[in-house]
Symmetry: C2
DNA sequence: CAAAAATAGATTGCACACAACTTAATTTTG
DNA sequence: CAAAATTAAGTTGTGTGCAATCTATTTTTG
C-alpha cells in the first residue's frame, strides 16, 4: 500500500532538490567568473554557436526560456560586458546576441568546470550514461510549453 | 574527444530542463487547487506531519529551503487559508506551521495527482525505480548547503 | 495591395530562491 | 549568573522564471 502523496515518493521532488543542489555546487566556481548559473547556460550556448551569434528566439528554444526571462538576463550580461545585441538586418524584429572579446575569452576560464563538477558527483561513467539515458527519455515524453 | 562544455553533455542542464518541465506539468493540476508548485511541496510535507504541525526550521530542512524563501511563501499560504502560524510555547523563537481545516480538506483533491503525473511520464515501473536510485545516489553525494 | 494574422522581443506583475543582514530568544561559557 | 555565542524567523536586495500583455515588424490572406 504505497502512500502516493508522501514527499519521499515524488520523482519531481528529487529533481527539484537535485537541481537546486547542482546550482549551489556550480555557484562558487561561477562566482569567480562573475556568472550566475542561468548566465552560464547562456554562455555554453553562445560558445558553441557561430560568430554571428544567436537570436533571442533560438536561445530561448535551446534553453527553454522565454523572452520574459531572457530579455532582462541578457541585458545584465551586456552590462557585464559579455554579450552584444544587434538588430538583424534581414528581419528587424530579430535581435542577435553575440559574444564580446571578453565573453569569448571567458571560455578558457570555464573549460575545467564540467570535469570538476563531474568529479564531485561521485558517479561512475556507466552510472552517468544510464542517468543521462533515463533523463533524456523523460525529457522526450514530457512535452515542452 | 568529448566537448565537455557542450550544452548537450551537461547533466546539470538535463536536470534544469526537466525540473522546469515537471513544474509546468503540475501547474494546471495545481492551479485548480489554487497552489503553486513550491506550495504543493509544503502541503505534502504538512499532510504527512502530526497535527501539531512543523516548525519553519524543520520544513526548511525537509524541503531544503531557507527562511528567506519560506517566510513569505507561508505568509501567502496563510492568506489563502491553508495554514496557521503559532509561536511555540517551549521556545518563543520557533513558529509552528499547521494545517487549517481547509488545508486538511485539500488533501482529498490532491490524492490523484501523483498517479496522474506518473502516467504522463511514460516511464515503466522499473525505469522509475532505476531513476530514483540514481537520483538518490547523486543527492547523497552532493552535499547540502 | 490593404487588412488581418502571426511573429520577435520587451515589459509588467507575481512568486520563488538565496545571500546577507536584523531581531528576538535561548544556550553556552567564563 | 552575566556576557558571548548560537539559534529561529523575518527582512532586504538581486536574479531568475513565467503568464499576460504590448509594440513593432513581417507574413498571410481576402
Amino acid at each position: 500500500m504505497a502512500n502516493h502523496l508522501a514527499l519521499e515518493n515524488q520523482l519531481c521532488f528529487r529533481l527539484y532538490r537535485l537541481n537546486k543542489r547542482m546550482a549551489k555546487m556550480y555557484a562558487p566556481l561561477l562566482k569567480s567568473l562573475n556568472l550566475t548559473y542561468p548566465q552560464y547556460l547562456v554562455m555554453l550556448a553562445l560558445w558553441q554557436s557561430t560568430s554571428e551569434g544567436l537570436s533571442v528566439k533560438s536561445l530561448g528554444e535551446t534553453l527553454e526560456l522565454d523572452s520574459g526571462t531572457l530579455s532582462p538576463l541578457l541585458k545584465r550580461m551586456q552590462t557585464n560586458g559579455l554579450v552584444q545585441r544587434t538588430r538583424s538586418e534581414e528581419d528587424e524584429r530579430t535581435v542577435l546576441i553575440s559574444l564580446t572579446e571578453s565573453g569569448i575569452a571567458l571560455k578558457a576560464q570555464a573549460i575545467d568546470i564540467p570535469l570538476t563538477l563531474f568529479g564531485k558527483t561521485g558517479l561512475s561513467e556507466s552510472e552517468f550514461t544510464q542517468l543521462t539515458y533515463l533523463l533524456d527519455k523523460l525529457i522526450s515524453t514530457t512535452a515542452n510549453t
